[in-house]
Symmetry: C2
Subunit: 140 residues, 2 copies
Amino acid sequence: MRYLHTMVRVKDLEKSMDFYRLLGLEEVRRHESEEGRFTLVFMAPPGQPECPVELTYNWDGDEGLPSDSRHFGHLAYEVEDIYGKCAELQAAGVVINRPPRDGRMAFVRSPDNVSIELLQKGGAKPPEEPWASMGNTGHW
Amino acid sequence: MRYLHTMVRVKDLEKSMDFYRLLGLEEVRRHESEEGRFTLVFMAPPGQPECPVELTYNWDGDEGLPSDSRHFGHLAYEVEDIYGKCAELQAAGVVINRPPRDGRMAFVRSPDNVSIELLQKGGAKPPEEPWASMGNTGHW
């Protein structure tokens, strides 16, 4: 058996791809179905194409279920520099729901409310402002 | 950047571990926190420890959010023999929500309603009963 992907549904493909690109992922594969009226875009960290998130975009929309949940938690990625990554995300308008106060862990949400955990490679960095004293925003 | 895991919350750790074991995953790592009152169990396909699902078990429960969602789709795994795997799951009481009628794809749900896609390695097998004429059960 082999892990293939984690699938999330997106309402706006371009907006979502922008978000995941900003996070550091790149498109590794794409499948469009005229008949099924959907587009699947697989995005993975550079050098790690075997661990993609699959963005499912239904051309005719996808309503009816909650956009938050208890059973699904988050996607987690390790980053080289958690402060740099959070600054980059914030500059692009992404809310840092859980700032990396501890130099180790941050949470953001995708445009579709998918919770994303960012973890500092190699363990916690020394605390650094403005993050160290930044409060939480919402939940994640 | 590096993919680390997909996290799902579970209400009954043993029951969930049984399910994911049955699927073919094995425990690769575990973290218990007395202080935080939670247990994290990482389970991955044999030989693929870098792609785990993280089961988060909160000792005091975890209510309040929907147990179904629109944004999160599923976890996908490739299997050697989709008929054999579905038979094994079914014998253990797992509902095959979307039977592998096409010899290629099946869906089941975890005890916490997490949708799991199973895909036949190497592409579709020839149709086979009882799967070929089995209807869907619920959604996934």
